[in-house]
């Protein structure tokens, strides 16, 4: 029988479908009786998506302009 610690430690293989059938059964049995762990799983799953949104970066137009000039220069040099 898994406790909370075992369950949280095995979240990555669980979410990627890489757990052994026995361990998955133990984990599911724990989740069935542990609402805090169910919430933990939900928030663990949501973490990557929130981080992706928070870490979006845009390229300033002047950087894009410099990139084009740089590449044109290098391509011309190589001809």
């Amino acid at each position: 029988m898994f406790n909370c610690k075992d369950s949280i430690e095995s979240l990555l293989p669980f979410l990627e479908g890489e757990m052994s059938p026995e361990d998955e059964e133990h984990l599911r049995a724990h989740l069935n009786g542990c609402p805090p762990c169910v919430e933990f799983v939900r928030t663990y799953r949501a973490t990557s998506g929130l981080c992706r949104k928070a870490l979006v970066k845009s390229m300033p137009p002047e950087v894009a302009g410099r990139l084009r000039s740089f590449l044109r220069g290098k391509i011309d040099e190589s001809k």
Partner: protein
């Protein structure tokens, strides 16, 4: 990336490989934002990110003839950019791997969660707009990750590289990549949870 984008890239790539510079420039325009974003997230320096973007597309141009198209052009330049960013970080010797300060859930002696999450904020991930303060909290928490964990998290969960690609680039085994990723996710989950407890 949609199938149409990949098909359009293939057409542009074929033209670029035949010497059509405007086709190569069109490929650059389609992927520069993603490459720059990766470089800026990895290095946290606008100057480094601009240089990495330049080096990445120059390298792509110089090796156009070798690109056989087994992978999508976007994935190819993404990998070049990730390698360039990692090389730059290595040169700056910031690839420390320290685990002591990595946050995570706390457990009782019997292995039960010491604290229950106060709110289920998982649905916020579906919101189109991200709260500005939450965005800052996530940025700070990501910056605070030990470098070896931060890079694995960014490469996998933000840039979408495979475990095998990351393992090869970073020089650690796939199980070690997964372990770092899990620790990083736990630390970031804690930071987001703490944010929602405060608001």
């Amino acid at each position: 990336m949609t199938d149409t984008t990949v098909d359009d890239d293939r057409l542009l790539l074929t033209r670029a490989q035949g010497g059509d510079i405007s086709a190569f420039e069109a490929l650059v325009a389609r992927h520069e934002e993603k490459v720059y974003g990766l470089a800026l997230r990895m290095t946290r320096s606008e100057a480094d990110a601009a240089e990495i973007t330049q080096d990445t597309f120059l390298s792509a141009y110089q090796h156009l003839g070798e690109f056989r198209g087994e992978a999508a052009f976007g994935s190819w330049v993404h990998r070049i950019a990730a390698n360039n960013a990692l090389m730059r970080l290595r040169r700056q010797r910031v690839l420390d791997v320290v685990t002591e300060d990595l946050a995570g859930p706390e457990f009782t002696d019997r292995g039960s969660l010491a604290e229950s999450p106060e709110t289920d904020w998982s649905r916020r991930a579906d919101d189109k707009m991200l709260d500005e303060e939450l965005g800052r909290a996530i940025q700070e928490a990501t910056d605070a990750l030990p470098e070896g964990y931060r890079e694995v998290f960014l490469l996998k969960d933000v840039e979408g590289l495979s475990y095998e690609e990351i393992s090869e680039m970073v020089g650690i085994s796939v199980p070690a990549v997964k372990s770092r990723l899990h620790r990083a996710r736990l630390a970031l989950r804690e930071a987001i949870d703490a944010f929602y407890k405060e608001v």
